[in-house]
Symmetry: C2
Subunit: 113 residues, 2 copies
Amino acid sequence: MAQPLDTVFSALADPTRRAILAMLLEDDMAVTDVAEPFKMSLAAISKHLTVLAEAGLIARERRGRVIWCKLEPDAMRAASVWMQGFGQFEPVDLDAFERFLEGELAEDRPEAG
Amino acid sequence: MAQPLDTVFSALADPTRRAILAMLLEDDMAVTDVAEPFKMSLAAISKHLTVLAEAGLIARERRGRVIWCKLEPDAMRAASVWMQGFGQFEPVDLDAFERFLEGELAEDRPEAG
DNA sequence: GTGATATTCAACCATCCGGTTGACGATCTC
DNA sequence: GAGATCGTCAACCGGATGGTTGAATATCAC
């Protein structure tokens, strides 16, 4: 598992991690706040964040005792390009994307559903 | 692992499977022919094809004793839309994509490199 | 310095994943 | 029907993955 596409796609394959990315789309967050909506332990979320960081999908920056996580959407570009090579997909419908995100969040964060 | 994005992204996370998809981009192929360029056993390739089929990324059709595999690029659309929601990526550069594919194939199919 | 907060580390566990091999079922050829 | 070919199935193996808990580290507040 060395090639960049491997790590990016495999990071995206987990619904918890996709939910985290969706949360970070709205704003940078501290690790504790990222973990709050999920049922699993903080340590588990910390591991997920490590996976996302190693894929380049997020950056973590320590400020005081808080570690801030922010999205690095550029890491998705190569993967996106790869996929688009397989079909000329229509331009993105952002409304559909938002509905989609809500669905993902609802499935993955029981408090919201 | 039930949500469609899970299966699609995790199918795409393996370089062998991405190489297979790239091969199928050129033409439909029999399982044996798909397996030919790889170093691993036919059974392993058969498993990879099952993963791709369960993700909806390919379809398999038996004709005589040969099973033909063909790309189903529509299965990538939801994943592509999801990713594009994270950044307004530039329109796809197909030349770059082809170079990319060649790189992937070279890395994954030693005979070609 | 003490104590609370934020995050990771380490060890552990169950399950999944990607590969192997050998046997099997199906189909074609003769 | 006999034998070869196509592909999958089943059992197995080692290593990765996703979760847990408890201890450790680092920082803040007092």
